[in-house]
Symmetry: C2
Subunit: 295 residues, 2 copies
């Protein structure tokens, strides 16, 4: 189904567009994005349509989740292509607010932190939270705001941002937000690279090298029946083979990002830099206790 989505730039426009649907008891599905949309986002939109009568996509590059040193200014903005992709995937409404619409009086880290924000707690202090202090405060605060404005019945997030998904589930649970959260499978390029808006920063050599992240995760999975240390060793070996990669973290954890179990379902996550571009990826992994050696 290809239709043109209706664009809302203000809260009032959004509200007016959604009021009739809400009145008619339609289920609203929501996909929050930062734009620069790709096939990964399209799959989230299609997933949302499976759970709802109408799909709303927000496009907002949220300054609160970028540290002053990060790529806020160069983050890609591609609104007209984004609207086309939304239309091709059955989205009814695109909410694309200016910064001043989301942060009354304009954004500064200081003024926002003077006000009321969402505090993400301990889960935001590890992995990406350790590398990007304050990042998840920004993510959860803006998602809470968007939930308040859209009031969706269901919202879809990619598993590619696995820690983000875990934190959004935690927010919904801990603040009793009336929205169902769906985590959707990561979409990948032919060589396994997880789709990301930041992939377009990569030069050709970096782009080729980037596929090593996914290969490292697969290598760990193949060794996971020998236990956590073997799985880690296998992934590290693959990562070390690529000189363009500067590893940020490789983490083997439980499904809820705690300590990896000696056996059973877990998660393996990686973050690395290629030049100034930071990429992340993750996968499920099934650990086993290694068989006892007969020596």
């Amino acid at each position: 189904m290809t239709t043109s989505p209706t664009l809302a730039n203000t809260r009032e426009e959004l509200s007016a567009l959604l009021a009739p649907a809400r009145r008619d008891g339609k289920r609203i599905g929501f996909v929050p994005t930062m734009g620069a949309l790709h096939e990964g986002h399209a799959s989230l939109m299609r997933e949302a349509a499976q759970h709802a009568d109408m799909v709303v996509v927000s496009i907002f590059v949220n300054p609160m989740q970028f540290a002053p040193t990060e790529d806020l200014d160069r983050y890609p903005r591609t609104l007209s292509e984004d609207l086309e992709l939304c239309g091709a995937n059955g989205v009814a409404v695109v909410f694309a607010p200016a910064v001043e619409v989301m942060y009354a009086g304009g954004f500064s880290h200081d003024s926002v932190r003077d006000g009321v924000t969402v505090h993400p707690g301990r889960l935001a202090t590890i992995l990406d939270g350790e590398s990007r202090p304050g990042h998840f405060d920004g993510v959860l605060t803006v998602v809470a705001k968007l939930f308040g404005l859209v009031q969706p019945d269901v919202a879809v997030f990619g598993q590619k941002d696995y820690q983000q998904l875990a934190l959004i589930r935690a927010m919904v649970r801990d603040l009793c937000l009336p929205v169902e959260i769906v985590g959707a499978e990561t979409m990948r390029e032919a060589d396994g690279l997880a789709m990301s808006s930041r992939n377009r920063y990569l030069d050709p050599a970096q782009r080729t090298a980037a596929a090593v992240l996914n290969r490292a995760l697969h290598a760990a999975r193949e060794r996971a029946s020998y236990g956590v240390p073997s799985a880690r060793w296998a992934a590290m070996n693959v990562l070390k083979s690529e000189p363009l990669i500067e590893l940020d973290y490789l983490a083997l954890t439980s499904v809820d990002l705690g300590e990896a179990p000696t056996s059973g379902e877990g998660r393996i996550l990686v973050a690395a830099r290629l030049g100034s571009t930071r990429l992340i990826d993750n996968m499920p992994i099934h650990f086993s206790t290694p068989p006892e050696r007969s020596s």
Copy 2:
């Protein structure tokens, strides 16, 4: 109108009771309380009825807003009288959850702070927030949770807890919560003492002495046309006359709890202890610039 409100103890019961009203597009008014209800709460319920088709009251003594040294354990619990007062004031539903219903797995300050909470920002660092660190984190977090569970169209809070009301308004603004906030006038005893569930802690001598708080605020208002310092001096003089009062703060501020204006509308707030009981009160105050002295 006196009817028996329906009691909901679980999230599921609450949800089942509110679903038909929501489906029919009825406006839901909400009054969150900690129980030990008095005529002040009754006035909030009547105010809520003015703005809504049905009124929900929650009764929950929220452990997160009490410091370990505070009066959580001795805070009065009077559920059957509370239900009667709700019935006499037209309340349709009373939500009285156990601690485990609001805090899955039970409450501890550490476990809750490990999770996702509402961070109240700078406004929570002054006045009551300075005397009660963490208090407003607890208030805003539980109010956000209750808003998520009840999903009210409008919620009514007393002006007696003026800083709390200001922070709830800030939360609704900063997190875009889809609820209208109404602040209701403080109800007072015959001698001017602001009604409070904690008044029942007072022994007869303390109860008589407590009226000095209100007299001090009035004295300041009468002097406010001579400027902020004169108003403060007048209130302090009254407070000093009562030896049973141990002052926590006397604050003259703008209406949004910033610096007091030299002229125009402001607020005067007081907090004091009588024995181990901490009471607060506040009033609007109109400041003028004092006339120049001819010397």
